[in-house]
Amino acid sequence: MKRKEINVCVLRVGGTNCDAETKRSLQELGVNAEVVHVNKIVKQKNLLNYDALIFPGGFSYGDYVRAGAIWAKWIIAKLGEELKTFVREERPILGICNGFQVLVEAGLLPGFEGISIYPEAALATNFPIGYNCRWIHIKNENNGKCIFTRKISRGKVLRMPIAHSEGRFIFAKDKEEEYLKKLYENDQLVFRYCDANGEYAEGKYPINPNGSFHDIAGICNSSGTVFGLMPHPERAFYWWQQPDWTRRKRMHQYGDGKLIFESLIDYLTKKF
């Protein structure tokens, strides 16, 4: 598949608000990206016309009840079958911030065995409590399963901003060890919060900005094609979005966020 043949669907619903910049990042890389309201997808039944699906950041349905919960239930009810097909055919699904929350609430992540009926993890209220907008570092932990990080060498430290109040990744206390082991065994662990030198946060604020279990910032499902992360790659795409560009004489043209979109496109061009 050539780049210009690729069609990515950036889904939105009332309260989604990072759709435009997500679409822009994809278009900059030469693929077709379209922001589509879920109402339209449901009406036209055309989800399977797209090669990849992105749940962007925002506050879907105001995040009332719990972040991402309403949209997750809604999407499973209305588009559950299509989503199953999407996952089965290993078409990529990316959830950024609120999108990650949706994928977890919908049971697509961690997705140890396909789509689970009940959420197996949660993105809980930050600790320290409250909304937090800041640049953080994450380290690529993945050994190659996650198709969204294949252009990123293992152990590489990336810089991106986070902006959320519910990003504390947790498992149920009694499942913590078992599930973490599974994440490692299945190569589903993708990003962990660390400092600029790559030292893990070990829970220390603000390096781990939300109190996530095991400093987890992003995970993928067991097939590596569904991926969710709290940081915003679309806000770390161009050099001028970075927090220290005024200090540097020379900047790379792009920020680290681009690597995630590049990996996605690379996968699509090779696989389909």
Partner: protein
């Protein structure tokens, strides 16, 4: 005698006729009070006269409509009225000072000023930038979260109300001291800490949920804000100017879109036009609206689509006064009349009386005028977004407002009458304050003083608050409010709104309430200078201004006198700097049982930068670079943070020397455009000491300065040089390589090399006698600056 004054019509719903025709003065005032419409006797008599001419009594719907339209909040009676001041008669403060400045400057780049919900200036090609700043003080005092959130929601709708897509928010807040003694709080006044946390959460909640980055602002603490919290909410939008539509014709349909209408926000404008009292909570709680940002987000999507397809002929937001203001003002503007059928308005719950429906200020509602042929398509677009839209009437060609409820006429008013309230006549009086300049010896330990000033709430880092606002969403924030890893305070924010262009917009503000305690004239001058120099420091130019006044009761002559003084300065300095006002707002009657608010003028500055790649941040960049002081330092410590630390005010308020300032600003823009400077930071609260400390710890390099080199007049004390707050000054970092060119361009300006960036992790300053007066590690400086308002983690 209430029975006689109000006669209920025999209908299934509640509507009263008010017996105004026979009412004496006392009854007229009684009616005004009992209906909660806040009209004075002169105004009530004008109403009586009108209905006598009509030969009938008004309904409650009619009186409420008049009350809303004539309120201070909607009509700005004080700014439009006549003021006797120092033996002269000022016919409208607004026309005489604010608009006149813009007319005199007559800038070509202004697209629409003072006309619409927001001011609009040209940007690039076919694009314009809309900007508006609102006040939401009164509601925030009663219900901090809801008050602040709906303040943000309201100003975003102002931007939508000129067909612009909101791209950035700004918020400037004023609170009482957070450690205020609970025992001293009078009944009905909430503790500053409670108000502070509610307001900050409300602002974050709305902006974050809407996906609009909050990129600029300020927080100021003052005793007078204990009883009168100050909440300024600003929003900036982008619009293609060829899609800007305002051409309503008779028969265009009135479409009400967005949220449903309820009893929240009844009489918000009347409430905002009165002083706060012990009973405000009880009486005015319903005046505060309930926020639902997601409703507005959906509304925004639909409106932008309708704009792009040019399907509507006008748009306005429903803010103060609800439908009554929005319908009335649109009809007035296009020389139309209007017919409204109130039963069509979607309600949150049944049981609202017709007048309540008409004046409710429920949030997230917009009013569109739609030519009949486009109606279907418009309604479909709203439906696609799950946003409710309902035709509720139409515009007519007769200049009469007719309101129906369930087929029965409940109001009929002539539009011209509705917009001709009796002119307010007020008296203003100005008496210079009698403060003395303090006399104390220079303290032995200036290290301690600097650390204390850095920790004072007005100077201290606001990081813990700013991080609760999403300032990165949309991915276009080129210069962020927090600079770098240490999160230093950038002077202004820069947004790059178009993917196709490097041009950016520069947002900054200036506010100096403490100077106003000495003289509001120099407070206003300083606020303008500060807003401009913040903008210029990062690379902004072609700057337009917004004025937002928060004042006490204008019916008290000395309060009004200080307002006139501030307006005089606005005219003088806006024209001198050639920075026109394009929009503004006043919030008067900020008085509580603790007294009036200290006069607080916020100046917001909107500049452009031709290429965002030229932007300059405030952090020092490289050891060996030279530090220059640009501008002259005077013995101006009146109202300074230094004096405040000693519990003093003083008299020597900073002035603005316009000729020198204009020259400095212009030269600075030139050197920025040539890429000659590595960092630039404006000097404001805390003066040189604070500014250089911020530059050093943000950049992570030490700085060495010598106070002897600072260009100054009549200043021979280290502490005064360090902490004077003279206006129009900058600190600039220049590399040795660029020195020659920089100095050549600076010729004719007051400036001097005062030190250099070092590899030491210290701020080291030599005093006039060459002995060290400041020697502090960057860590200690940073710690003091950050601890005061830290999150306490």
């Amino acid at each position: 005698m209430t029975g006689k004054l109000y006669v209920r019509r025999k209908t299934s719903y509640s509507i009263f006729e008010v017996n105004i025709l026979e009412a004496d003065d006392k009854s007229l005032l009684k009616i005004s009070k009992e209906l909660g419409i806040g009209l004075n006797l002169k105004e009530m008599k004008r109403v009586q006269e009108y209905f006598r001419r009509k030969g009938r009594n008004p309904t409650d719907v009619e009186l409420q409509t008049i009350g809303q339209t004539w309120s201070e909040h909607c009509f700005h009676k004080t700014f439009k009225g006549e003021i006797k001041f120092n033996g002269k008669l000022i016919d409208s403060l607004f026309k005489t000072y604010i608009r006149k400045a813009t007319e005199k400057i007559n800038p070509k780049w202004c697209f629409s000023v003072f006309e619409d919900n927001a001011g609009i200036v040209h940007f690039e090609d076919n694009y314009g930038i809309a900007i508006k700043v609102e006040t939401h003080n009164h509601p925030s005092a009663i219900e901090p979260f809801g008050g602040a959130a709906t303040g943000v929601g309201g100003v975003i709708r102002d931007i939508l109300g000129v067909w612009a897509d909101p791209i950035a928010c700004m918020d400037v807040l004023g609170f009482g001291p957070l450690d205020y003694d609970y025992e001293k709080l009078p009944p009905g006044i909430k503790h500053p800490r409670y108000i502070f946390s509610g307001v900050v959460a409300g602002i974050g909640s709305y902006g974050n949920n809407m996906g609009i980055p909050t990129v600029n602002g300020a927080i100021y603490f003052d005793e007078t804000y204990v009883g009168n919290v100050v909440v300024y909410c600003g929003c900036v939008g982008l619009l293609p100017l060829d899609k800007f539509r305002r051409n309503v014709k008779p028969d265009d349909i009135i479409v009400l879109a967005g949220g449903k209408t309820g009893r929240d926000g009844i009489h918000g404008v009347t409430f905002a036009s009165a002083e706060l009292t012990e009973k405000s909570e009880e009486v005015s709680r319903p005046a505060v609206q309930i926020a639902n940002p997601i409703e507005e987000e959906k509304l925004k999507r639909a409106i932008i689509k309708i704009r792009d397809l040019k399907l509507a002929s006008a748009i306005t937001d429903l803010g103060g006064g609800g439908l009554s203001s929005a319908v009335g003002e649109t009809a007035k503007r296009f020389d139309c009349g209007a017919i409204v059928e109130l039963e069509k308005v979607p309600l949150k719950y049944p049981g609202l009386a017709p007048w309540e429906i008409y004046v409710s200020e429920s949030q997230e509602r917009m009013l569109l005028a739609v030519p009949p042929k486009n109606l279907k398509q418009v309604l479909e677009i709203f439906e696609e977004e799950n946003s409710e839209a309902t035709p509720i009437g139409k515009y007519t060609n007769d200049k009469i407002l007719k309101i129906y409820y369930k087929g029965e006429k409940v109001a009929e008013l002539d539009i011209p009458f509705l917009f001709e309230p009796p002119k307010v006549e007020r008296t203003a009086h100005y008496k210079p304050m009698k403060f003395n300049e303090p006399n104390f010896p220079q303290p032995d330990n200036l290290n301690e003083v600097l650390l204390k000033i850095l920790a004072s709430p007005n100077v201290a880092s606001k990081e813990s608050i700013i991080r609760t606002y999403d300032h990165e969403v949309k991915g276009n924030t080129v210069l962020k409010p927090l600079q770098g890893e240490k999160a230093g305070p950038n002077d202004a924010a820069i947004i790059k709104p178009l993917d196709s262009s490097w041009k950016g917009i520069v947002l900054s503000c200036g506010m100096n309430p403490n100077y106003g305690k000495i003289d509001t004239y120099w407070m206003a001058a300083s606020a303008i200078d500060e807003a401009l120099r913040n903008n210029i420091a990062v690379g902004g130019r072609r700057i337009t201004l917004l004025d937002n006044f928060t004042w006490g009761n204008p019916e008290k002559p000395e309060r009004l006198g200080s307002l006139v003084r501030a307006c005089e300065a606005c005219y003088e300095f806006a024209t001198a700097f050639k920075a026109p006002f394009i929009s503004g707002k006043d919030s008067l009657y900020n008085e509580s049982p603790l007294g009036p608010v200290t006069p607080t003028l916020l100046i917001t500055a909107l500049g452009i930068i031709p290429d965002v790649r030229l932007a300059v941040s405030m952090d020092v960049k490289a050891p060996g670079d030279i530090i220059y002081m640009v501008g002259e330092t005077f013995k101006e410590l009146g109202g300074s943070e230094y004096y405040r630390l000693k519990g003093l005010i003083g008299k020597s308020v900073p002035k603005v020397r316009v000729d020198q300032a204009v020259k400095t600003f212009r030269t600075l823009t030139k050197v920025i455009d040539l890429g000659l400077i590595n960092a630039c930071h404006d000097l404001s609260e805390g003066g040189l000491g604070v500014a250089i400390a911020e530059m050093a710890f943000t950049g992570g390099y030490g700085v060495e300065l010598n106070l002897k080199e600072v260009p100054r007049k009549n200043l021979n004390r280290d502490d005064f040089i360090l902490f004077s707050e003279s206006n129009s000054r900058f600190l600039v970092e220049v590399s040795e390589k660029a020195r020659e060119e920089f100095e050549k361009l600076m010729e004719g300006n007051v400036y001097a090399e005062i030190g250099k960036v070092t590899r030491e992790n210290r701020l080291f300053i030599q005093g006039l006698n060459d002995k060290p007066v400041i020697d502090i590690s960057l860590n200690d400086l940073l710690k003091s600056w950050k601890q005061t308002l830290s999150r306490g983690v």
